[in-house]
């Protein structure tokens, strides 16, 4: 994974400039968000369900179209570009989902190779061929999350934590400069959740990949984030370091006093892990 380091060049910041998102049904996802996420930062976005966390993350790779404003990933504008350009942006931005989003009938390797789709030549696209170099990249990615030995196992045979690691490997296989993670640990039990967060942090440190993570749990946010962004009703209401984000700040974000569920995925919460701790 050496070329990943060499790819890191200056000017790969993510810049939100007055970004608003309105869904077709009229719901406002984001309202006038302006942010700069510098290259290599580990950012955690917190807030209630429906506060716009997912919208924020998905607007970065164009899965949610931005209604107005400007959003740049590195040198590339994301807003209003054509499909081809958008695919270029996406190929440089890996994404991890709450539900892992694996094709569980396929092998781990095939799933990770999804991350190499953007590099396929036209004839390889046609027949679905991946060159040995791509397979080696996939192996490297699996190595980083420590499940190389599962490469040819059907994804459905893996535990939730392992599946999420496959999903991380899939994002890494893109050799991205940005990784987005939408509630990556909400479906996992607390120890596994911590493990996955550690993996993400390690990758962020080792490869210098900008990482933006949505989280429900505040303790995880404080523990791993370089910077915390608090969202409420589509607006950014807090932007600071983990130390600055005390309980007072969180109550502000959540709009009410905190409960044990908001704070952490304590062992008592194991049975409801994956459930939504927000009211």
């Amino acid at each position: 994974m050496t070329e990943q380091g060499s790819r890191a060049t200056a000017g790969r910041d993510i810049v939100f400039d007055d970004v608003s998102v309105v869904y077709p049904n009229g719901t406002k996802g984001l309202i006038d968000v302006s942010l700069t996420i510098p290259e290599g930062q580990f950012v955690v976005v917190v807030g209630l369900s429906g506060a716009g966390k997912s919208t924020l993350i998905r607007s970065i790779n164009g899965l949610v179209p931005v209604t107005s404003g400007s959003l740049r990933v590195g040198e590339t504008e994301v807003v209003g570009v054509g499909r081809r350009r958008l695919r270029q942006v996406r190929s440089d931005v890996g994404m991890i989902f709450q539900g892992f989003n694996l094709v569980t009938r396929r092998s781990v390797m095939k799933n990770v190779l999804t991350g190499r789709l953007h590099a396929q030549s036209w004839w390889a696209k046609l027949i679905g061929y991946h060159p040995p170099a791509d397979i080696e990249i996939a192996f490297d990615a699996l190595e980083r999350v420590g499940i190389v030995e599962k490469a040819w196992v059907r994804a459905s045979h893996l535990s939730g934590g392992q599946q999420q690691r496959v999903a991380i490997a899939r994002a890494l296989a893109q050799q991205p400069s940005v990784v987005l993670a939408d509630e990556p640990v909400a479906s996992l039990d607390p120890p596994t959740a911590n493990q996955v967060m550690r993996d993400l942090q390690r990758i962020n440190r080792e490869l210098g990949i900008t990482t933006v993570v949505n989280l429900h749990f505040l303790d995880l946010a404080r523990r791993y984030a370089d910077r915390i962004i608090g969202m409420r009703a589509g607006r950014v209401v807090f932007d600071g370091t983990g130390e600055q984000a005390d309980d007072k700040v969180f109550e502000d974000i959540y709009g009410r006093s905190l409960t044990a569920e908001d704070v952490s995925a304590t062992p008592t919460q194991v049975s409801v892990a994956g459930g939504d701790p927000a009211p």
Binding site: S107, F139, D140, E143, V148, E149, K150, A151, W152
Partner: protein, 302 residues
């Protein structure tokens, strides 16, 4: 830093499977000795040509009198539209009666055959009957039993469809009986009800919506099947289609086919929306089978 890579599993089985399919394909094509494969490349062009002629018929003024072969004196295009429509109604009537016969015979039989309701060992015989009927094409009932008795009439077609429907409907009905919640049945029986009362009060309300949806679905299937019986001589649209296309009267064929397509699609839509209402309107479906009760048309398996 690289650790050992696990070896990729052998692709041999998949490759062999694909090769096997290919071999089967080629073998079958070669064995089809009467087929003039050399005519295949010309088919799209020919078919397009005939489609164009059909479209001409459809686009013609209904009051105009067609020219050429196979035109009875005084016939207009409008007559052709009318005959097609009239015979299509024949076919739909045949399909409807067949469905009614199949539904009313399969319904009681299914109760005698379902594992959770059958009062006696008769159920094996009835299940055997259902399976047997499903394995025989409807055309066989028509030519061996119904045509000799009823002659070349739509009644023969309706009867053949009716008997044939018993198999599929019986199987589907007994499956929905077996899928009911046993609780209410136990409660009703515990209150001292007879078998018939138990069926009426505890079983029928649970399985009726789904079963009615099956009836409608079978009706849709029977409309198509009635065309087949029509070709054999039971009348209806099948007869017209076979005459018209058999004599290569393409303009008229276009009109007739369009009538068949439009009427069938309309009846399908109505039937599908009624099914949807039955399942989602008056009772929620227990399983995820929703409004597509038997996703597979004319069937032996489900």
């Amino acid at each position: 830093m690289s650790t050992t890579r696990p070896k990729a599993p052998s692709k041999l089985p998949a490759t062999l499977g694909m090769l096997g399919m290919l071999a089967l394909l080629i073998l079958c094509a070669v064995m089809l000795e009467r087929a003039n494969w050399d005519r295949l490349p010309g088919v799209p062009g020919e078919v397009l040509g005939y489609l164009a002629k059909m479209a001409e018929g459809v686009a013609s003024d209904p009051r105009a009198e067609p020219t050429g072969r196979g035109v009875a004196p005084g016939d207009t295009y409008g007559t052709w539209w009318w005959i097609a429509f009239d015979k299509m109604i024949d076919s739909i009537a045949m399909a409807w009666i067949g469905t009614v016969i199949g539904a009313s015979l399969s319904f009681p039989l299914a109760f005698l055959a379902a594992n959770n309701t059958a009062p006696g060992p008769l159920r094996f015989a009835i299940r055997g009957l259902f399976n047997g009927i499903r394995a025989i094409p409807d055309l066989v009932f028509a030519i061996l039993v119904m045509l000799p008795i009823f002659g070349l009439t739509p009644t023969a077609g309706a009867m053949a469809l009716g008997v044939n429907s018993i198999g599929t409907l019986g199987k589907l009905t007994l499956e929905s009986i077996e899928a009911i919640d046993p609780g209410p049945m136990e409660a009703v029986r515990a209150s001292g009800a007879t078998w018939l009362q138990t069926m009426r009060v505890a079983v029928v309300p649970q399985m009726l919506p789904e079963t009615m949806a099956f009836w409608l679905y079978r009706f849709e299937v029977n409309i198509r099947a009635s065309a087949v019986l029509g070709v054999l001589g039971a009348g209806g649209i099948g007869k017209v289609l076979s005459d018209v296309i058999g004599h290569r009267l393409w303009e008229r064929a276009g009109i007739t086919l369009l009538v068949v397509i439009v009427v069938t699609v309309i009846v399908d839509q109505i039937s599908a929306s009624v099914r949807h209402r039955i399942i989602h309107g008056s009772s929620s479906s227990r399983r995820g089978r929703a409004d597509e009760p038997e996703p597979l048309p004319v069937t032996v398996t489900a």
